[in-house]
């Protein structure tokens, strides 16, 4: 049953990459959101929370990582429409012919 073996191998890869991106990017995004949000207000008249410059820098770094993930995702879609695949060979992702 070579097909089963190949499919399971591919599924493991999808699981690894999926965990890295599918769990990793939402967690990065949530981290950014948390850094900007501040603690739950204790009363209606609690002063508005202002995140410090360090928190803001870290938060935007988190969002930048997510944005990079979205860019790669867009490339995968555009590639799928053109019969191409995304290559990470040159660090920055580029579209190359399938094969």
């Amino acid at each position: 049953m070579d097909t089963v073996r190949l499919a399971v191998e591919a599924a493991w890869k999808v699981l690894y990459v999926g965990l890295l991106l599918g769990a990793g990017l939402p967690i990065m995004f949530a981290l950014g959101v948390r850094l900007l949000a501040g603690p739950a207000p204790e009363g209606d008249d609690a002063p508005a929370y202002r995140p410090g410059p360090g928190s803001r820098l870290l938060a935007w770094l988190c969002f930048a990582v997510v944005a990079y993930g979205v860019l790669v995702g867009l490339l995968v879609i555009i590639g799928a429409g053109q019969g191409k695949v995304v290559s990470f060979e040159h660090v920055f992702p580029t579209l190359v012919p399938k094969g």
Binding site: G22, G32, A37
Partner: protein, 404 residues
């Protein structure tokens, strides 16, 4: 001369049916992308389906290189270069057109029935199931298994992904939801929810775009195959522009229609969805769909999205997953391929017994009666953008008094 007219009418029937399938593909799958956004109020229902429709339209137009051999992985109707096998092409591809027509009708009827029942089943599996049934009925070969060098055949392209994709997506979404929920547990909910809203909108857009690219391509490939069989198109590495345009419009129009019954199951039926949870589920869906597309292991968008939503319910502390709804959904996944196959086989048999022009016309009539009947039935307990978010009351039906 009359024979030429008859086969032209059959060709028109096939193209119309293919576009009808594309349309059902749109509304059947809208919920995959937008159900969590609607559930959490990140987007108003009408805005959500409009966004998804536009993304599907754009995605369909991104399909520059359409693989004509899209059905080659499961049925052997074509040579390796994409041309139909010779024994099906006689008399303007009469035999080929009947197989495609019967397969499409089988897929549509199953898509309509699962929509009526509010069950998110895979549209691609319905299409392939219908084609497999019609192909078998016609005595042509079905590729059950690949040759072992690549993932191929019914086993590799449909059964294995169907078993594995919900599990993979569910696990990832559960982990994401669990961690995200703890990250923002004691934070200002108003601020975090505003942030997660944008995460949801972004992920839902990506899923819709990917859906337009992948699913519209299948119908484009099927229509072009029919045109080649009929003899009015010869290129196997390009498709007519009008085919691309009508397919893109059909899938986008279907998406905009909404498929509210399925959206209701996905957004309210499986589990109640909070903002951080919705963002995690959407993010997991987008990542798994794109990762599998990149790695060449084609997963069903529907099963990934449903698995993610289910997993997000498992991962959120305090969430209550309705396993009875999940069980019905899994049952629909298991029955999609054989049920659409049976319908496709039956349609081919009817079309073949009657023969000539009468056969395809009767098959078309049966499609219209079946689809019309199910649409009529759906009006009794209509689910629309007005009541899609009502409290879940044991089933996809919304109590009559609540319907606006």
């Amino acid at each position: 001369m009359w024979a030429v007219d008859a086969s032209f009418i059959v060709l028109v029937c096939v193209i119309g049916t293919a576009l009808f399938f594309d349309f059902t593909n749109g509304f059947h799958d809208t919920g995959n992308a937008v159900a969590p956004s609607i559930a959490t109020g990140a987007l108003k229902p009408r805005v959500a389906v409009a966004l998804s429709a536009v993304m599907n339209l754009l995605g369909a137009f991104l399909s520059v290189a359409v693989a004509l051999t899209v059905t080659n992985s499961v049925v052997k109707l074509q040579n390796d270069d994409g041309t139909p096998i010779t024994e099906l092409t006689a008399n303007h591809g009469e035999a080929l057109l009947l197989i495609i027509l019967a397969g499409l009708v089988g897929g549509i009827l199953w898509n309509m029935l699962t929509w009526l029942l509010g069950l998110p089943s895979s549209s691609s599996h319905a299409l392939f199931g219908g084609l497999i049934g019609a192909t078998l009925a016609a005595g042509q070969a079905v590729k059950w298994n690949g040759d072992g060098t690549k993932i191929d055949g019914v086993l590799g392209k449909i059964i294995m992904p169907a078993v594995l994709s919900p599990v993979i997506a569910g696990l990832i979404a559960a982990i994401a939801t669990f961690v995200v929920a703890h990250l923002v547990a004691s934070r200002d909910t108003a601020r975090t929810d505003a942030g997660f809203r944008w995460g949801q909108i972004g992920a839902a857009s990506l899923v819709s775009l990917a859906h337009g690219t992948n699913d519209a391509q299948k119908t484009m490939g099927v229509i072009t195959l029919a045109l080649i069989g009929y003899g009015s198109w010869t290129s196997t590495d390009s498709i007519p522009l009008w085919v691309k345009v009508v397919c893109a419009v059909a899938i986008a129009a279907g998406t905009y229609l909404g498929g509210w019954r399925i959206i209701r199951t996905l957004s309210k039926g499986l589990v109640d969805i909070t903002r951080p949870q919705g963002m995690s589920a959407d993010g997991a869906s987008a990542a798994v769909i794109l990762a599998s597309s990149h790695l060449g292991f084609a997963l069903s968008t529907t099963q990934v999205a449903s698995g993610s939503i289910l997993g997000s319910g498992v991962g959120r502390p305090g969430a209550h997953v309705r396993w009875s709804v999940a069980g019905r959904m899994v049952l629909a996944w298991l029955t999609t391929l054989p049920a659409a196959g049976l319908a496709g086989a039956l349609m081919w048999w009817i079309g073949d017994v009657l023969g000539g022009l009468a056969g395809p016309l009767v098959v078309m009539a049966l499609l219209l009666v079946g689809a019309g009947g199910m649409f009529y039935q759906s009006r009794h307990h209509a689910v629309t953008h007005h009541n899609v978010g009502e409290v879940w009351d044991g089933g996809p039906k919304v109590r009559k008094s609540k319907v606006g």
